[in-house]
Structures are given as structure tokens and as C-alpha cells.
């Protein structure tokens, strides 16, 4: 592999990894607080559609991004009401919402754009960072991305900061590990968890927008294609810690990028088998073969209050 293909490989790794990184870091907030959103996939799909619609209506991808975020949050509210307020089983709610998202976006897409439409919407502009973007090798791959990529990275740093250094971050961990103690300390478990899910929804909104408007600039049915589940797997892989989770996303992204690398050159492995690679990695991590990690003690357990 020469330097040029390596640069392309790094760029495409980042390209595949970023939506996962955003979705996973958002989901990590919820999981830290004890809520598993299987509906992450649906949130992303919802946002992927609404951001395309918003961009198509207004002609501005940034307004499309806002639509995407808003739709992710709306979807998250559904999850929050069902799983936190009504204390329904989180897994059941998640699966149900994913089916709903697939159905709803498919329906709306056919109503609004037509089943066979491949109408392109305007994309995000590129950002050229003077000096850095012309660096050999890393320059084009790291510093000539869509502007929205940097917004996304900034959001991940923001999440790290909130979880690590704010009262809300501590409350999240307390609520996820020992909700009863948190309740006794005067923390509203319901509130902390609901807010966490909304954060997840917003981040999934950005991630979904990246997949549609930020990439192929159109919506196709079921286009998230399991990215939400991969993001959840990345959290397990990363042991419920933010930076290892981001690292896991990069690993999955690298595995996805590999298939293009090989198909471009002469591939020793069938490219269809490479398509499987990120999922195999995810499976291994979920099975605990990559070092067993301890999830938040109250993950997926609804809180019924101390009274």
C-alpha cells in the first residue's frame, strides 16, 4: 500500500467512522444513565430522512441539519416517554421504534420524493484549514473534510467535558449505577434519564444527517443499515468509556473502509466477506472476547422510585 492509498484509506476510515462516533458518544450518555436505546438506529434513520427533506425544502443543508437534529429529538422523546416515564421494557421499546422508523421514513420518502427518486440535495461545504490542509498524507484526509465533520468532532469533545466535569455528568453516572442512592440524594432519576435520551437523540440526528446529506446527498430506504446497532456495539467494545468507544468506532470504520481498499486493488478475499468484518468484530466484542467490561449496574432497569 503506497502513501497515496494510505491517505485515501485514512480519509475513508474517518468517513465511515464519524457517524458511528457521533451516535455512539450520544448513546453513551444514555447508557451511563442506565438507558439502552436500541432505537438509536431508528433515530438515525429518522434524521437521515428529515435532514434530506429539510435541505430539499429550504435549499440549505445547515437548516437540513437542524431538521435532522429536531427529528432525532422527537424520536428520542418517544423513547423517553415510553421507557422512562412509563417504564416499559427498554429493549421492546427500542425494537418497536426501529420498526416504526423504517416504516415511517419509507412511507414519507415515497409520498414526498417518489419511490425511485434519486433527487440530490445541496451538500455541506468543505473547510480548508490554511496550512494544515496542504500537509502531505494527513492533510487531505484530516483537514479537507466537510465543515459538519468538525462540528461533529466538537460535539464529541463537549460530551466528554459534560460527562467528566459537570454536575450533570456525575448525576448521569449515579443514576446509571445506583438510581436509588441518586434518588435519595435528591436527584430526579426520571429527569436525568430523559435529558440523557434527548442528548442521544440530538447526536443521532447529527449522525443521521451525515449519512444522508453529508454523504450521498439523498435518502434511500433503510439507509442507516445497522449503523445504530454498530454504535451500540462500539460502546460495549469501549467498555462504556468515551475515548475507547470512539476508538472502537474508528476500528469499525477501518473495517468498512477496507472493503473499498481491497476491491480497488486485487482483493485476496471476496469483498462481500469484508462487508461482514465490522459486524464480526462487533459480535466478538459483545461476546466479551475483547476483555469483559462492566456496564453501568442499572443499565436497562427501569426505576420505580423509592416509594
Amino acid at each position: 500500500m503506497n502513501l497515496e492509498t494510505l491517505a485515501v484509506y485514512i480519509a475513508s476510515t474517518l468517513h465511515f467512522a464519524l457517524p458511528l462516533m457521533l451516535a455512539a458518544s450520544g448513546e453513551l450518555v444514555s447508557e451511563a444513565a442506565g438507558v439502552l436505546n436500541l432505537s438509536l438506529e431508528g433515530m438515525m434513520l429518522f434524521a437521515a430522512f428529515f435532514s434530506v427533506w429539510g435541505t430539499s425544502v429550504t435549499g440549505d443543508p445547515w437548516i437540513g441539519l437542524l431538521w435532522g437534529i429536531a427529528s432525532g429529538i422527537v424520536f428520542a422523546i418517544l423513547q423517553a416517554v415510553l421507557s422512562v416515564r412509563l417504564r416499559a421494557n427498554q429493549l421492546v421499546v427500542g425494537i418497536g421504534l426501529n420498526i416504526l422508523a423504517l416504516g415511517a421514513t419509507t412511507f414519507l420518502n415515497r409520498e414526498i420524493f417518489g419511490a425511485l427518486s434519486r433527487q440530490l440535495v445541496p451538500g455541506f461545504g468543505h473547510l480548508h484549514i490554511p496550512g494544515l490542509s496542504t500537509l502531505p498524507l494527513l492533510g487531505p484526509s484530516l483537514f479537507q473534510q466537510d465543515l459538519v465533520v468538525y462540528v461533529g468532532l466538537a460535539l464529541i469533545v463537549a460530551i466528554w467535558f459534560v460527562l467528566r466535569f459537570t454536575a450533570y455528568g456525575v448525576a448521569c453516572r449515579a443514576v446509571g449505577d445506583d438510581p436509588r442512592s441518586a434518588d435519595w440524594a435528591g436527584i430526579s432519576v426520571t429527569r436525568v434519564r430523559s435529558i440523557a435520551i434527548l442528548v442521544t437523540g440530538a447526536m443521532a440526528g447529527v449522525a443521521g444527517t451525515l449519512i444522508s446529506v453529508g454523504d450521498i446527498r439523498t435518502f434511500t430506504e433503510g439507509m442507516t443499515n445497522g449503523a445504530g446497532y454498530l454504535a451500540i456495539a462500539a460502546i460495549i467494545f469501549g467498555g462504556w468509556r468515551l475515548w475507547p468507544t470512539v476508538g472502537a468506532c474508528l476500528l469499525f470504520g477501518g473495517a468498512m473502509a477496507l472493503q473499498f481498499q481491497f476491491s480497488a486493488a486485487t482483493s485476496p478475499v471476496p469483498t462481500a466477506a469484508l462487508l461482514m468484518l465490522p459486524y464480526v468484530l462487533a459480535l466478538l466484542s459483545v461476546a466479551g472476547l475483547v476483555g469483559r467490561q462492566v456496564p453501568p449496574a442499572a443499565l436497562t432497569i427501569p426505576f420505580f422510585g423509592s416509594r
Binding site: 449515579a174 449505577d177 442512592s181 440524594a185 449496574a297 423509592s306
Partner: protein, 553 residues
């Protein structure tokens, strides 16, 4: 919002001026309860309770399980709201909507269960619910140190709670409350989890808080603590406050009687009192039927029958490879009680799990009678006539969401099925009989197990295990934890009568006085090893205590 009317005064800072003088009755009480009633559906947990607590005093709340002590605390702390009656805090009407309002009003509570998050550091735990926005950990850590030092406590703010010992966690709970400078502190059985040597210093801290002008309500089962710390004692029975006595004029026996509404056997009073001389008296006279009887029924024949339990060099390593049990060797004779004494966490839990068939030993063997059970499943162990009263009755002892009848019959379900169908009628009848025989209160066959109080849950588990037929061996781990004097008496009564019928008993407990009162011999476990075994007499008490704390005799 009523809570916020009463935040300003900090009693702990007024030390110098007012509250050194302990003449509380002339001053306005910190907390004043009048006619407090609380019902849960048809059940009245508390009726017409009236209580006053003054600054600078420790009020002990005594009562049997289910008498309403925890309910009362939870009402004051805003977890429940009273069905009727009025509460006043510092003279103002007080009706907290939730614990948060109670905290804001200056009421702190140390719960029966720990309320610190194990995975977080001390400083994060104490910041929880007290800070907004960005945290200032360093500043707060200094505040924690300073505040703890005021009461002679030492706390390392940067430690992670799960690395701390039980005693340290308990002190942390107190510091957590003190950080908010409460005017009233509720302590719900705080000493239940403490090893004996920590209880004294814990009570000293309570005294210091009271001397500083704070008001304390201490819920406890241990009469020795009451005798040591209480200024006044309120006694609850069946949801009513039956008496409030100043300790200066208190008579312990009268208190016990007021608490359970009847007289107790002498030995058990002694156990409850933790007072050596009573236990001695019980051992020498008046009670041949209890402590004495169990063991000293002559093993009828001289030809020695086989031991009911033989543990031979049992070793257990946990998942991380740490040695939890190190070549344990003990034997239990039929009709005898062998006590395993030790501070909690020295391998008792692991021993209990192995004998229940829930863990496999790493090395060594164990036998019931002459059958090897080393790799037996729980079902095989039960079939061999081993009754198990597990340490954790919620997780292992019972299915808490099922009814009392179902729990009682769980072990010999085959007896209650015909053609694969459960015979509910027979089950209910059997359950009714057991409920009556084992004095399980407030329960019918259909009552949910989880809704019973701790003592009554334990009676249900005991009833099931003791009615195994044949019962060869009973393994009871901490069977009286969290139980009140009355229930302790019942539990040991049943264990003794099982002994009288020829079963051997392995009794694991960290309550040394109880062990001495009921066991024949005591083996001491320390860091996974049996460090000594001797007859259970008062004379050996000190030696056993020394062994428990790791001093070789």
C-alpha cells in the same frame, strides 16, 4: 416548597451559645409529630404517632420488625406522605413532598442500605445533588476534609467507594449528611452492617453530633446501643408509639416488654442486650430448655454416629484467583450446633455458597453423612436433607415476587402436583399450617413474599427449610441479620428444636453473643482460614473475639 421555610439556622454552628445545655424539654422541639397516620391500602403501618425530638438529643426508636420504624423515618424524610396528622420542623409546618424537600429543610437520613454509589469517588458522591454546572472538585474535597475533621472523622475524598470497608462507607454516609449541616439526622439501623469493634466509634460520632446541637433519631434493634447512646427512647409496637422513656430512669426489661408486648426467655433478652452477665446467667440457670438443651442432649448411644457434615480441606479461589477459603476443615455432629464466628467478609459467604451448591470448591471435599457432596447440584443437596437458610434471603432464599404459599412449597413442589398440575388447595392448606406454626405475621398464603417485613420473610424461609423431611443438616448463614429481639428468639427457638430432633446445624454469624448463646462449639474464620475452635462458653468469649480480629490465641 414548605421545606424552604426552614433552612436558615445551622444548629451545628450554634454550639457555643445554646445547645451545650441538655435541658431540651423547655425549648421548642426540632421536630414535632402529632397524630401521624400512614396507611398503605388496607394496611395501617402507623397510627396516631406523636413524637418530639429536641436539639442536642439522641432519640432511639425501638420496635419489632414491621412495627413501623422505617415507615416513620420515611415519612419524616419525605419518601412517603402521611395519610393524616401534622409534622412541624423548627416550629414551622413541615410536609416534604420528596427527599429533596426534606434535605432542603435540614433533615438528613442515613439509610439501612448504603446510599453511596460504589463506582464513584467520595467527592463525586458527596457532590451528587448538591452542585450545578461545572464541578469544583478540589474546593469541595477540602470542604469534605474540614467538615469531617470537625467530628473527628477522617475521609479521603479521592477514594472510590467500592474500595472502602463497610465501616468506612458508613462513616461516609454520616459525613454525606453532615455536609448539608442538618438540624435533624435520621439513622435507620446504621449499625446493622458494622463489625462489633466499629460500633463504639460510630456511636461516639453520634454523641458528638448531638453535643454539637444536632437532633438525632436512631433506629436500632440492639438494646446495648440504646443503653449506651439514647437520651430518650420511643418504643413502637404494631404501628403505635406505646411509650417514650427517658433513659435516666429506664429499665431494659421493661423496654423489651413494651416493645414486643410479652415477656421473653432470659437467654434471648441477654442476646439482645449484648450484656455478658445476662448471657452467663442464662447459661447457668433457669433455662435448661434453650441454650443448654440443644447441644447437651446426650448423643444417645456411645457408638459414635457419623458426622452429619464433614468438610475436608476445602479451598476456594474466586474468579480473580484470590483465595477466599483456605483448607477449611470442620465437622458437625448430629444434634449439635457448630457456630462459625468471624467478621463479615472473611469467607463466610463463600462457604455458604459452596454448601448450597451454588459454587464449586477449587480443592477439598465435603460430605453429608457418608455421601460426598463436593460437586452436587443444589437439588441433590436438598434431596440429601440439607436445609439452607441463605445469607441473602432476597436473592437466593426466596422468589420475592411470588406468594408466601408458593415460596413455602417451592422445594418439594412434586408433593403438591398431580398429573403435572399444581394442587393449589393442598399448597394453601400446607402454607396456612406453616404460617401458624412459624408465627409469620401479617401474611396469608396468597400474600406476596416481598411485602413481608424482614423478620417474617426469614420465618418463611426457615419454615420451608426446617420442614425438609428428613432434615439432616441445617446451614444457616446470618439468620438473624436485621431481625429484632422477638424474631431472633423465634428463629433460634426453631433452630434449637430442629437440633433436638437430631439434625446438625452449621450456624454462620457475625454476632458473637448470639453464637455463644446458642452454639455448642464455635470455630473462628479469619481471612478464609479456620483459626481456632473451642466450646461456646462465656469464658472463651474474649479468646474468640481475639481470633475474630486476627490475633492468634
Amino acid at each position: 416548597m414548605t421545606g424552604q421555610t426552614a433552612t436558615a439556622v445551622d444548629p451545628l454552628q450554634t454550639t457555643g451559645r445554646a445547645s451545650r445545655v441538655r435541658a431540651p424539654d423547655v425549648r421548642e422541639p426540632v421536630l414535632d409529630l402529632a397524630g401521624i397516620t400512614k396507611s398503605f391500602g388496607a394496611l395501617t403501618a402507623l397510627s396516631e404517632a406523636a413524637l418530639e425530638v429536641h436539639a442536642g438529643e439522641v432519640l432511639c426508636l425501638l420496635g419489632e420488625n414491621g412495627a413501623g420504624k422505617s415507615t416513620l423515618c420515611n415519612l419524616i424524610y419525605g419518601v412517603f406522605r402521611p395519610t393524616g396528622g401534622e409534622m412541624r420542623l423548627g416550629g414551622a409546618a413541615y410536609a416534604p413532598a420528596d427527599p429533596k424537600a426534606a434535605l432542603e429543610a435540614g433533615v438528613g437520613m442515613v439509610h439501612q442500605h448504603f446510599s453511596v454509589v460504589p463506582s464513584m469517588t467520595v467527592v463525586d458522591n458527596l457532590l451528587l445533588g448538591r452542585s450545578r454546572g461545572i464541578l469544583h472538585r478540589r474546593l469541595f474535597a477540602e470542604e469534605i476534609r474540614a467538615r469531617a475533621a470537625e467530628f473527628g472523622l477522617e475521609v479521603d475524598p479521592w477514594r472510590v467507594v467500592k474500595d472502602m470497608s463497610v465501616g468506612e462507607r458508613q462513616r461516609l454516609e454520616i459525613v454525606k449528611c453532615l455536609m448539608r449541616r442538618p438540624r435533624l439526622l435520621l439513622l435507620d439501623e446504621p449499625t446493622a452492617v458494622l463489625p462489633p469493634e466499629e460500633i463504639g466509634s460510630f456511636l461516639d460520632v453520634c454523641r458528638r453530633i448531638a453535643d454539637g446541637g444536632g437532633a438525632l433519631i436512631l433506629v436500632t434493634h440492639k438494646l446495648a446501643e440504646v443503653a449506651k447512646i439514647a437520651d430518650r427512647t420511643a418504643i413502637l409496637r404494631a404501628g403505635r408509639i406505646v411509650d417514650t422513656v427517658p433513659m435516666a430512669s429506664a429499665d431494659m426489661k421493661a423496654i423489651v416488654q413494651a416493645m414486643i408486648g410479652r415477656e421473653l426467655g432470659g437467654a434471648t433478652v441477654a442476646v439482645g442486650l449484648d450484656l455478658a452477665e445476662h448471657a452467663e446467667a442464662a447459661e447457668t440457670d433457669e433455662l435448661p430448655a434453650s441454650a443448654e438443651a440443644s447441644g447437651k442432649i446426650p448423643a444417645a448411644t456411645k457408638s459414635r454416629p457419623p458426622d452429619v457434615l464433614q468438610i475436608d480441606a476445602l479451598t476456594y479461589r474466586d474468579r480473580n484467583g484470590a483465595v477466599r477459603l483456605d483448607e477449611i476443615t470442620v465437622e458437625v455432629r448430629p444434634g449439635k450446633i457448630l457456630g462459625i464466628a468471624g467478621v463479615e467478609g472473611n469467607g463466610q459467604s463463600e462457604l455458604g455458597l459452596i454448601l448450597a451448591g451454588l459454587e464449586r470448591p477449587s480443592a477439598g471435599r465435603w460430605f453429608v453423612g457418608d455421601r460426598e457432596m463436593t460437586r452436587a447440584s443444589p437439588a441433590e443437596i436438598t434431596a440429601a436433607g440439607v436445609g439452607i437458610v441463605p445469607e441473602d434471603r432476597h436473592a437466593v432464599g426466596a422468589v420475592v415476587e411470588m406468594s408466601v404459599a408458593e415460596n413455602l412449597c417451592l422445594q418439594n413442589l412434586a408433593q403438591y402436583t398431580r398429573f403435572g398440575l399444581v394442587r393449589r388447595g393442598a399448597m394453601t392448606a400446607a402454607a396456612k399450617d406453616l404460617i401458624a406454626r412459624y408465627d409469620v405475621r401479617g401474611a396469608g398464603p396468597e400474600t406476596r413474599f416481598a411485602s413481608l417485613s424482614g423478620g417474617n420473610q426469614q420465618k418463611v424461609v426457615l419454615a420451608r427449610e426446617l420442614t425438609l423431611d428428613p432434615l439432616v443438616l441445617l446451614v444457616a448463614a446470618q439468620p438473624t441479620r436485621g431481625l429484632d429481639v422477638g424474631a431472633v428468639e423465634t428463629v433460634y427457638g426453631h433452630i434449637r428444636s430442629a437440633c433436638g430432633r437430631g439434625a446438625g446445624v452449621l450456624l454462620i454469624s457475625s454476632e458473637l453473643d448470639e453464637l455463644i448463646a446458642v452454639s455448642d462449639r464455635i470455630a473462628v474464620i479469619y481471612r478464609g482460614r479456620i483459626v481456632g475452635e473451642m466450646p461456646a462458653t462465656q469464658k472463651n468469649r474474649e479468646a474468640i473475639g481475639a481470633l475474630m480480629s486476627g490475633h492468634a490465641a
